[in-house]
């Protein structure tokens, strides 16, 4: 179990850094999606099933779809945006800053010996099915709406693109 946690956490970090560093905005979006997907694996393994499903569908699914659609539909694709990015060389230092900040947080937490928060009494040991269909039916409904929405999004945005290409 621990191996999966470490692997997925590592993947998430790598994809995240890739997304930030990549010059092509399209690839960056894909990196983000992958990072998000690793996060959902991590969440599932840690027991937050619902959050995992949700993360997968919304963050790595739909948001990426829209990102990519937006980028590919814009009339001056890639070049301009990439040029903007290239101009900003300081972005190269960004991952270092992020990692440094993370380290600082960890050191702070260790030195101050902050109490780790207790998990609430509604435990995560319930059956996933019970949780999903019994307790969270409102969220299911929302999920249905999201999926519908995603379908329409794909239909609208990509159909338009096809028409544009013709």
């Amino acid at each position: 179990m621990n191996t999966i946690i470490y692997i997925s956490a590592g993947l998430m970090l790598i994809f995240g850094v890739y997304a930030v560093m990549e010059h092509s905005i399209l690839r960056a979006a894909i990196g983000l999606a992958l990072s998000s997907a690793s996060l959902s694996v991590l969440l599932y393994v840690l027991g937050a099933h619902l959050a995992a499903v949700f993360e997968l569908s919304v963050c790595s699914g739909l948001v990426t779809v829209i990102f990519i659609a937006g980028i590919s539909l814009s009339h001056s694709p890639k070049m301009e945006i990439q040029k903007e990015y290239r101009d900003k060389e300081r972005n190269r230092q960004l991952p270092l800053v992020l990692i440094g900040a993370g380290l600082l947080l960890v050191i702070l937490a260790l030195t101050l010996q902050l109490q780790t928060p207790q998990l609430g009494e509604v435990a995560a040991d319930q059956d996933v099915r019970d949780v999903l269909w019994g307790n969270r039916q409102a969220d299911i409904w929302g999920q249905i709406a999201l999926i519908l929405c995603g379908g329409v999004a794909v239909a609208v945005l990509f159909r338009e693109e096809r028409r544009e290409k013709k």
Binding site: I66, F67, L114, Q115, L146, L148, C149, V156
Partner: protein, 490 residues
């Protein structure tokens, strides 16, 4: 099946049903007659929210809980609940959807089927936000709402659309991050996100304890407020709003300003106030954001070169009033906020409908290209004046009463200074409104606009409908005030 349960389930089922039925028809037919399907959905929403309110009021219950699929029963389950103030917002959703459909009949051409589908899902998303009793579910439906909006803004695939949509998307994601983090922090503290479990949490936590989870609780509040403030579009979280409103199609702008930023933003803040209003800084930060928003929004509106941008910044300013009313944390404050939400919906939708009319007839919304349209478009000019009067809070319009209520609420809550500032800032709003009215409608008619005609068909209908609502409410308000008085709120 009681009437109440039909109304209640309708809010959840009806939009999806409309989407399903609508897509059964062949494409051309659906494209041609979209107004009937979307209009029916919106009308249903309006009727059931009104009927539901009266039935619930008659029955004397506080709320009506129901499940989406089967009855709520399991402890800890997330279910839907109908209750008093939500009805007003449900009604607003229906009304705005209806007006948007009327306008879309003129402005939307290619994407009518997608527009209808997205509109219905958007309505479902907003209904969901209003009905759920769990912070996480609230977040889920907020995402639904947000997604629909991105697509609707981007749908018309012009560069401006995409830019506006992209900005909205990024800022919205920031807000999602904020809210999701906050939800996580709260979950850590309580283990449950139901409103009933969260309510009153603030009083059980002392600020000075220094324990991480307590600090995180306050951090969660900060994040919640910021997240919903982004969705509301108040200064300094407002930057996406003018771009999005300007670039979106007018039918979509109406949805955004009339319903989405109220349900996704203000309603979220209402929930925060209801749950954590006893934590003093919550109210104070809302008041601070509100007052800054009122002033800066108005100042920004004065110098905008585009009709829709002026109206968008005016939205920023008006949202400030609503937050100010909410910040009092009193019942009167809540009532005032809801009242202003309703007035704002009416008059802001009027202005956007007028924008649609101008776009259709005059072909532009750049202020420097407009002028002297009073004679060509008398109805539009008149409805515009009424909407301006309502925005500036001048009787006998609905805006006057709701602003009075806000000022009363502030006064009652012991912040006369805020009340005074709110009152004086009203002058600023008249400034940008007068400028807009003068440049667009008054003065010499530009020669190239000489052939412009009055708006017609459903746009004109929407203009008149909204103006009637604004004026009618303005005349009806004394009665509402009497009800409030009888209820001991005033």
């Amino acid at each position: 099946m009681t009437i109440l349960s039909i109304c209640a389930h309708g809010f959840v089922y009806c939009p999806i049903l409309v989407v399903l039925i609508y897509n059964l028809f062949n494409h051309e037919f659906a494209r041609k007659h979209f107004i009937w399907f979307a209009g029916a959905g919106a009308t249903w929403q309006i009727l059931t929210s009104a009927a539901g309110f009266f039935v619930l009021h008659q029955s004397g219950q506080n709320g009506y809980a129901f499940g989406a699929l089967w009855d709520p029963g399991l402890p800890g389950s997330a279910y839907f609940e109908l209750s008093g103030p939500r009805f007003l917002l449900l009604l607003i959703v229906g009304l705005v959807a209806f007006v948007s459909v009327l306008v879309a009949h003129h402005t939307v051409d290619f994407n009518r089927s997608s527009y209808t589908n997205l509109l219905m899902i958007l309505v479902l998303g907003m209904n969901g936000m209003l009905l759920v009793t769990d912070l996480f579910s609230l977040y889920v439906f907020m995402e639904v709402t947000g997604l629909c909006c991105f697509i609707m803004i981007a749908m018309f695939r012009s560069r401006a659309d995409l830019e506006g949509s992209f900005k909205y998307l990024i800022l919205s994601e920031l807000s999602s991050i904020f809210i999701l983090t906050a939800v996580a922090f709260l979950m850590m503290k309580t283990g449950s996100l139901r409103y009933t479990d969260l309510a009153g949490l603030g009083s059980r936590i002392s600020a000075g304890s220094g324990r991480l989870e307590d600090v995180l609780f306050y951090a969660a509040l900060v994040l919640l407020i910021s997240g919903f403030a982004i969705k509301t579009g108040v200064v300094p979280f407002h930057s996406w709003l003018p771009d999005a409103y300007q670039s979106a199609d007018t039918a979509v702008s109406i949805l955004l300003s009339g319903a989405v930023n109220k349900v996704a933003g203000v309603y979220g803040l209402i929930v925060v106030m209801e749950l954590f209003g006893d934590v003093a800084p919550v109210g104070k930060s809302l008041a601070a954001v509100g007052i800054v928003s009122i002033i800066i929004g108005a100042l920004l509106a004065v110098r905008q070169p585009h009709y829709k941008r002026v109206v968008a910044y005016s939205s920023v300013s008006q949202m400030g009033y609503i937050l100010l009313a909410l910040s009092t944390g009193t019942t009167l404050g809540l009532v005032a906020a809801l009242a202003h939400i309703f007035s704002h919906t009416a008059f802001k939708s009027t202005l956007f409908t007028n924008a649609a009319a101008l776009q259709e007839q005059a072909g532009t919304l750049e202020l420097q290209d407009l002028g002297g349209l009073e004679n060509q478009m008398p109805v539009t000019a008149f409805t515009s004046i009424i909407a301006f009067l309502s925005t500036a809070g001048i009787p006998p319009t609905a805006g006057f009463w709701s602003k009075i209520l806000i000022i009363l609420a502030l006064w009652q809550a012991g912040s006369p200074v805020l009340a005074a500032v709110a009152l004086i800032a009203g002058i600023l709003s008249s400034a940008y409104l007068i400028r807009l009215q003068r440049t667009v409608f008054f003065g010499q008619t530009r020669p190239e606009l000489a052939g412009v005609k009055e708006a017609h068909g459903s746009v004109l209908t929407a203009e008149i409908l909204l103006t009637v609502i604004t004026l009618g409410l303005g005349l009806l308000y004394p009665y509402i005030l009497m009800l409030l008085h009888a209820g001991g709120i005033l």
